[in-house]
Subunit: 253 residues, 2 copies
DNA sequence: ATGTCTTTGTGAACGCGTGCACAAAGATGG
DNA sequence: CCATCTTTGTGCACGCGTTCACAAAGACAT
């Protein structure tokens, strides 16, 4: 069974570690803000603070791109913006389709961050015939029957799935068959795709559940913390945050 | 994808690795589906396939929770659902507030995944007075002035930020000051929070940019597929990179 | 009861990512 | 031109996470 699906290509893309790639957009955002304030150069320390990372990590990240800094001075903001944009492929315009124009799909279509840099909403697609023709975010919704034609006509290679869970896999299959090779999935399902297709998942309930785990842990520690030699926490000493009774059973060892 | 700002506490939460915690919701979802189909037991191999992970990884993940399987048989679905739910803290109900009821906030409020398991939308909050009182997803929007009171009255410890980028940090500060210790941030900003507060980030444009990077790489490889002169070139700089007209005008300065 | 067969649970090896600490590089001033 | 000071770029070590491979555990048949 080929389990090497959906995730890590294992092949470090052009020598740039995946973890670094994931941080480049963060740096780019911070740099863009600096650029708008006409800041000419920035040190690794300053930029790292703005991006919320370690400065050594930032320097190492940039070292994978090349030596774009000047010792004793720092990095040229404009130049770095260009280099990172180029590396991320944002100097070209990526047409994107959004499939599933419900609450979330509509919100995504209206999201400014899309069109802002490098991405253009090429089409909105929904399976509901009643939606067809209705404009959302200024773009008329097209029926799912047109999916293949839209993909091919616009040369779309990135698709966003915002359908209900049940429709996600079939939609994904059709997107891939039509030529899409990158998918951003908002549906709460594990998508199966052939090799060579990248899938990234954005899952609200998973994020919430992870937060709940830590929240529960904090509550548990707090309740069981008497003689902790912990450094003084700047916590506002909350009385009790027990939501609604029901204290969870004590943790087993 | 540990977005725990500042520093990851390094303290492996109760011995359960962060990476494992991030996968538990995935397992839980797969198990719930099996439960609804009244499947009594499942092997690590089957469950791993359903969750899209390696079976060895799944077994190791479960081993951190305890020995809940039966050798030669597999795992009892119902029992495992309960154990994971308990571990994630989903046996209690977490009141959640959503701040910023724009397109995205409204979509989140309508999202079924919220109320489904363990989470309850306690309040919708927006800074626009015109929104106050207007029902969204059956819940009347409340004005931001009420934020602190809402948090305290409902014992809210998890907040969702869906405001514009500029408002995110101030809102975050107020949430934290009022007692929130876990934040799910949809605004494209790096949030700064005191120790003890967990932040997870969901950033659409970052995800898209990561996809664009891989997409560009695929296109580049494809274009250079005929050239076998890539033997000893560790630093294949410049030359071939743009599938289309290369080096377009730099971004607006 | 005994043997066989299935599947778990885990010890160990490996690889990736992170952070430290420092030498090299270049700017700046005398 | 030389000395000093700042900041980059990176070698190295460490720890986390993943994967392999296998022994232990239990079910099931005879």
């Amino acid at each position: 069974m080929a389990t090497g699906r959906t995730h890590r290509p294992a092949t470090r893309s052009r020598g740039i570690p995946e973890a670094t790639v994931a941080r480049l957009p963060l740096y780019l955002r911070a740099l863009t803000a600096l650029s708008e304030r006409s800041v000419p150069t920035v040190s690794s320390e300053e930029l790292a603070a703005a991006a919320g990372v370690n400065s050594a990590k930032l320097r190492k990240d940039f070292s994978y791109l090349g030596s774009y800094g000047t010792r004793g001075v720092g990095y040229d903001v404009e130049y770095l913006v260009y280099q990172i944009s180029r590396e991320l492929g944002l100097t070209q315009d990526w047409p994107v389709v959004i499939v599933g124009i419900g609450n979330l799909g509509a919100a995504l279509a209206n999201y400014g961050g899309f069109a802002s840099r490098g991405f253009r909403v090429a089409a909105l697609i929904d399976a509901d015939p009643a939606m067809a023709g209705k404009p959302v975010a200024g773009i008329p919704v097209q029926h799912a029957d047109e999916l293949e034609k839209i993909i091919e006509d616009n040369g779309v290679s990135i698709g966003v799935i915002a359908t209900p869970a049940g429709a996600a896999q079939p939609v994904c299959d059709r997107l891939v068959a039509a030529g899409v090779t990158s998918i951003l999935n908002f549906a709460p399902t594990v998508l199966t795709v052939p090799d060579g297709v990248d899938v990234r998942k954005v899952d609200l309930s998973i994020e919430l559940q992870i937060l709940a785990f830590h929240e529960q842990r904090k509550a548990g520690e707090e309740a069981a913390a008497e003689g902790a030699a912990q450094a003084a926490g700047p916590r506002s000493e909350t009385a009790d945050k027990g939501p609604d009774g029901d204290v969870p059973a004590v943790m087993p060892a």
